[in-house]
């Protein structure tokens, strides 16, 4: 078991766990999105690191080069980055709308507001 040799994996796992923890532990919606971003980014590393060979070049067939890196993971992650950007953009847009409607971006406060509304509705709904 080579600890230093698996450096990129340790970083991947660290980012993954840290990101997921932020999503779960933070009540602020923006911070949740930041955590989600870190979590997704760790997966980019998971894909890209094994595709890279030390001393490997881009896969251009030429006599000067013998060792090539695998380009497929890079291409996949390009797609995943686009998905990540779209998710983040949509998430932020939703937070803006939530802030307009509730006047807060703290999850606890929003839940409390909703519970009050639900309780009011419940009283109104009762036949008098």
């Amino acid at each position: 078991m080579n600890l230093a040799g698996h450096y990129s994996y340790w970083m991947t796992i660290l980012l993954m766990v840290a990101g997921l923890y932020i999503v779960v532990a933070r009540s602020n919606l923006i911070k949740k999105l930041i955590g989600l971003g870190i979590f997704q980014t760790s997966v980019y590393l998971l894909y890209i690191a094994p595709g890279k060979l030390i001393g490997g070049t881009a896969p251009i067939v030429s006599e000067q080069f013998a060792v090539y890196s695998n380009p497929l993971p890079h291409v996949l992650i390009l797609t995943a980055i686009v998905v990540g950007v779209a998710t983040l953009a949509l998430g932020l847009a939703l937070v803006v709308r939530i802030h307009e409607e509730y006047g807060s971006i703290e999850e606890d406060a929003i839940l409390e507001i909703d519970q009050h509304t639900a309780a009011d509705q419940g009283r109104d709904g009762q036949p008098s």
């Binding site: 993954m16 997921l20 999503v23 919606l29 949740k32 989600l36 979590f39 997704q40 997966v43 998971l46 894909y47 094994p50 497929l72 993971p73 996949l76 797609t79 995943a80 998905v83 779209a86 998710t87 949509l90 998430g91 939703l94 937070v95 709308r97 939530i98 409607e101 509730y102 929003i110 909703d114 509705q121 419940g122 709904g125 009762q126 036949p127």
Partner: protein, 492 residues
Amino acid sequence: MILDHLPALQVVVPLLAAPLIVLLRSGRLGWLIATAVSWTGLVVAVLLFLRVQDAGTISYAMGSWAPPWGIEYRVDALSSYVLVLVSLLAAVVLPYARLSIAAEVPSDRHYLLYAMFALCLCGLLGIAITGDAFNVFVFLEISSLSGYVLIALGRDRRALRSAFQYLIMGTIGATFYVIGVGLLYLMTGTLNLADMATRLGAVQEVRPVLAALAFITVGLSLKIALFPLHIWLPGAYAYAPSAVSAFMAGTVTKVSVYVLLRFMFGIFGVRLVLPGLPLLEILTLLSAVAMVVASLVALLERDLKRLLAYSSVAQIGYITLGLGLGNVDGLTASVVHLFNHGVTKTALFMLVGGIALRAGSCQLDALAGLARRMPVTCFGVVLAGLSLIGVPGTAGFITKWHLVLSALQAGQWWVVVVIATSSLLAAAYVWRFVEVAYLRIPTGPVAREEAPLSMLAPAWLLVAACIYFGLDTSFSLAGARDAAVMLLEGAR
């Protein structure tokens, strides 16, 4: 000539329709295009289903790049079945959507909603048709992202909170799935599902493969809303616009179940799933808990849409229960319940959308004596409710019958008890609606006021389907059995 390209058309048509709708910026044209696209999709799906019945699995090389290097579209007994389900529900919901959406969403957003609808349809069909693991992820995110937008367009501000919660949990689920696929790619060097299944047999080191299995199962379970990962579902279904709830309740979770089936039996196979992890036992147990606990919660809900949403969580339990039992009857029950529950729950959400339109509320307390105002709608809810309970002669019964057969075959008697309990609870929560609508005295003046015909007719079409597929199972059950046999053969 064009028939050879049906698999591509299935996905490309809705994908091209979405930007077209945005460019035209007209709610009416958008609705027309989306409806035309959904009907085209249904024709294509039925043609594909018939071709698979005749000639077996269709493999389509996207852009003529031969698999496993290019992306393969692969239509077999299971995927063609799911394609028919998704495109059928889209084709029925869209005619319904025009008036329902007009009543619930500001008119300047209509064209955006229909564009998102087309995109969501594209994603769902894409998941079912593609034979490439990473492609599944891309389509999963296309359908999910457009789904979050659709939910956020709901009238209630709680729709925004629910959409955000769904976005967080859905993204975590999708990312878990990608981690699993990444591990599989590291071990096999391929992303083509069929190729992966053959190469996985030669892999010596089992541990990363099991880790991949765990990540993929948990990730997809989030998307499926398998108990206890279901908390995004009730809010999302309850506060979305009615037409969106109807479409998503019938399709989104079902398609994720399809992916899970594909991976557990098509890729990993019984060789790894059974001895490696107690996965099937865990699935069975969680499904059983879902069937009872979610039904109990539904029993206590005061909002009709939330009641139906919790009932969905319970019904998803039936689907995963068949998966967990893992024999031919169980898998048949799972696949046939994708169809039966899709039809039943979509019918119910469509009818409830009509109630929301006329009564202005979905709170049960506000619906006293509703059957005098909306007798046709209420009778539809009762019939579809019978299918939800699983009364003989309805589609729901077909599923339960096969689940019971499967449980007996597996020697798991306690499962039969759970199924019976859950059915009784379903009868109780459907009865709550009957009691409120038929037996309570209405508070206000009573005038006959049904939902408009363009909303009532599609809903009743599906209600009729609930009964029809309980009597004539030549499509639903035979198709499901073909798919189940194929899955188990591939798993050996």
